[in-house]
C-alpha cells in the first residue's frame, strides 16, 4: 500500500442509516417517522455538543470528568439569567438574546472549568481512581451550589418566540427549534473539525492525544494546552446545556446528572477521544432514544444500554477508536 492511502472506514458512519431503516417499518406512518427522525437529529446534535469536549479532554490527558454533567446545568442556569434581562419581541432581539445566552454560558462554564481544573483535576493527573472520586465530589458541590443559588424548583427557560412553532410540509411538521439546535450542532462539529485540522492548537491537541511527552519535548506546555482544552470542554457543555434547557423549556440542577449517562454512552460508543465518533455516537443514541421512546417508552434507556453493548461487541473500543496510543 502506498503511504497516504488511508482506507476510509465508512461502515460505522452508516450505522445511523441502518438503525433508521430497521425502525421505519415498526413505526409505520411516514410523518411520525420523519418527525421522530428530525427530533433525533436535533437531540443528537445537542448531545454531541455536550459530549464532544469531554471526549477530547479524555483523549488528550486521559482525564474523565465525572462532574461534566454539572457544567451542562451551569450553562442552562446562566441562560436563565441572561433571559431575565434580555429584551425580546422581534426576530433580531430574539436572535441576539439567544447568542448572548450561549456566549454567557460558554464564558461562565469556561471560567468555572478553569477553576475546577486547577483546583481539583491538576493535583490528581494520571491517577484514575482519585480523578473519579474528586470529580464526583466536584459535581456534588456544583449541583448543590446551583440549588442554593437558584432554589430547588426548576426555572423556566422557554425558547424565544422566534424559535417556537413548527414548519409544516404537507403532513409533516418540523419544530423550528429542533432545526436551530441541529444547525448549531452541525456548525460546532464542523468548526471543531476545522480547528483540529487547520490550526496550530488543533494540531497540538491531536499530537498530544497520541504522545504527550513528545509534544512537551518539542517545547510546548502540555498542561497549559490541557487546561485550555478543559475550559473549552466545559464551555461546550454549557452551550449544550443552554440548547437542552431551551428544548425542555426549563433549567434544573439535576439535569446534568441525567444527561451524563447519555453522554457517557455516546463517547463510549464513539470511541473515547474521537470527535467524529462522538458525533456518530450522539446521533445513534438519539435515534434509539426517540424510536424506542415511541415504540416502547419504558425501555428507551435500556435500549441505549443494549446499543452500547452491541457496538462494543462489534468494536470493543468504539466506532472510531483513536490510533495507537
Amino acid at each position: 500500500m502506498t503511504p497516504g492511502a488511508r482506507r476510509p472506514d465508512l461502515l460505522p458512519a452508516l450505522t445511523p442509516l441502518i438503525v433508521a431503516a430497521i425502525a421505519a417499518p415498526f413505526i409505520g406512518s411516514l410523518p411520525t417517522f420523519v418527525t421522530l427522525t428530525v427530533a433525533s437529529l436535533a437531540m443528537g446534535a445537542m448531545l454531541f455538543v455536550m459530549a464532544s469536549g469531554l471526549t477530547l479532554a479524555f483523549g488528550l490527558m486521559d482525564v474523565l470528568n465525572f462532574g461534566h454533567g454539572a457544567f451542562i446545568a451551569v450553562g442552562a442556569f446562566a441562560a436563565t439569567v441572561v433571559y431575565q434581562f434580555a429584551p425580546h419581541g422581534s426576530l433580531a432581539t430574539d436572535l441576539a438574546s439567544f447568542v448572548a445566552a450561549l456566549a454567557a454560558a460558554a464564558v461562565v462554564c469556561g471560567f468555572v472549568g478553569y477553576v475546577y481544573e486547577r483546583l481539583l483535576i491538576a493535583p490528581v493527573y494520571g491517577r484514575h481512581l482519585e480523578q473519579i472520586l474528586i470529580t464526583i465530589g466536584g459535581s456534588i458541590v456544583i449541583e448543590q451550589l446551583l440549588l442554593a443559588l437558584f432554589g430547588t424548583e426548576p426555572l423556566d427557560l422557554s425558547p424565544p418566540a422566534a424559535f417556537r412553532g413548527a414548519l409544516v410540509f404537507g403532513q409533516i411538521a418540523v419544530e423550528k427549534y429542533r432545526l436551530v439546535a441541529l444547525g448549531l450542532g452541525v456548525l460546532l462539529y464542523v468548526l471543531l473539525l476545522l480547528v483540529l485540522s487547520r490550526t496550530r492548537i488543533g494540531l497540538l491537541i491531536r499530537a498530544g492525544v497520541e504522545n504527550r511527552e513528545m509534544v512537551e519535548a518539542l517545547g510546548y506546555r502540555i498542561d497549559r494546552l490541557f487546561t485550555a482544552v478543559f475550559m473549552a470542554a466545559s464551555a461546550l457543555a454549557g452551550v449544550g446545556g443552554v440548547l437542552w434547557g431551551l428544548y425542555q423549556s426549563q433549567a434544573r440542577a439535576g439535569m446534568g446528572a441525567d444527561l451524563l449517562v447519555l453522554v457517557f454512552i455516546v463517547i463510549i460508543i464513539g470511541g473515547l477521544g474521537s470527535v467524529t465518533g462522538c458525533f456518530l455516537g450522539a446521533t445513534l443514541v438519539a435515534l434509539i432514544a426517540n424510536y424506542a421512546g415511541f415504540l416502547a417508552p419504558k425501555l428507551a434507556l435500556v435500549c441505549n444500554i443494549l446499543l452500547m453493548v452491541a457496538v462494543l461487541l462489534w468494536r470493543p473500543r468504539g466506532l472510531y477508536p483513536l490510533g495507537a496510543k
Binding site: G4, A217, Y220
Partner: protein, 238 residues
C-alpha cells in the same frame, strides 16, 4: 554550547537507573554515547531532556542549568530530541509534524530543501499521514523534526535503526553538515561504523555509569579496548 553532566542520578519508580553519570559533550563536536543494551543511554538522554527528573547531580548547557527543568523548557533552551521510539505523530501529515517542530511558526524553505536533500522521501510523502510511512521513513521524519529549526544541542537516540545503507550514508552526511553549522550533537549509536565516522568524542556507559571517555578515533584504533568496553557484539553490527 558545552553540555556537562555532573554526578547525575536518575530513579525510575523504585529502580536506581543512573548512578552518577559524569561526562561532557564539547561545543561544536559530535559525542558518541555507547554501551551495551540496558546500560542507561536512553535514560541519560531522557534525563537531559527533562523527561525523567534527575534525583541528584547537575546538567548544564553552557552556563544554564537544565536539571529540574520541564521538558518544554529544556526544548526552549535549544535542545532537540530524536527519541529511540521516533515518536512521530502518526495521525498528522509529514508537513504537520514538521510544522509543530518549527516553533517560530513558518518553516524556512531553504532549510527544508536542505533536509529534503538528505531525506528525499519526505518530499515525496509531504502530504501523507505520518502513520502510513515505512519504519525508515518515520525515522527520517523524526530526525527532520529535530533539524527543522537550528538548535544548539541535538540528542539523537539510535537513528540508524532500520535504515537502509544508502540512507545511512545520507544521515552521516547530514550529521556532519549539522555539525559544520555549529551544533553540538550527542548521539547514541549501536552501529560502530557510523560511530567511527561521525564521532569526535566518545563516552561509554555501563550499569548507569560512564566507564570510559575519550577521543572516538582512539577507541576506533584500539580493538582490545573496544572488546573490553563494548563486548564482542559490536563487530556483528558492522
Amino acid at each position: 554550547m558545552n553540555l556537562t553532566l555532573d554526578g547525575v542520578h536518575t530513579h525510575i519508580g523504585r529502580y536506581h537507573i543512573l548512578q552518577g553519570v559524569d561526562f561532557q559533550a564539547p561545543a561544536g563536536l559530535t559525542t558518541m554515547l555507547l554501551g551495551r543494551n540496558g546500560a542507561g543511554k536512553t535514560t541519560t538522554l531522557r534525563t537531559i531532556m527533562g523527561l525523567w527528573r534527575a534525583s541528584r547531580g547537575a546538567i548544564r548547557l553552557g552556563e544554564r542549568r537544565l536539571d529540574g527543568a520541564r521538558a518544554s523548557d529544556v526544548a526552549r533552551a535549544g535542545v532537540a530530541y530524536v527519541p529511540e521510539t521516533m515518536a512521530i505523530f502518526s495521525d498528522l501529515s509529514v508537513r504537520e509534524n514538521l510544522l509543530l517542530a518549527a516553533r517560530a511558526g513558518a518553516m524556512d524553505e531553504a532549510r527544508l530543501d536542505w533536509i529534503f536533500g538528505f531525506f528525499p522521501a519526505l518530499k515525496t510523502f509531504w502530504a501523507s499521514r505520518a502513520g502510513s510511512l515505512s519504519g525508515g521513513q518515520k525515522q527520517m521524519l523524526s530526525i527532520a523534526r529535530a533539524l527543522i529549526e537550528p538548535r544548539p544541542l541535538l540528542l539523537i537516540d539510535e537513528p540508524t535503526k532500520g535504515l537502509a545503507p544508502a540512507i545511512i550514508d545520507g544521515l552521516i552526511a547530514c550529521l556532519k553538515d549539522v555539525k559544520e553549522r555549529g551544533a553540538t550533537i550527542l548521539l547514541v549509536e549501536q552501529n560502530f561504523r557510523v560511530a567511527r565516522e561521525v564521532g569526535d568524542r566518545v563516552a561509554v556507559m555501563d550499569n548507569g555509569r560512564i566507564v570510559h571517555a575519550g577521543e572516538m578515533a582512539a577507541l576506533a584504533e584500539d580493538a582490545e579496548l573496544q572488546g573490553r568496553l563494548l563486548g564482542l557484539s559490536l563487530d556483528s553490527h558492522q
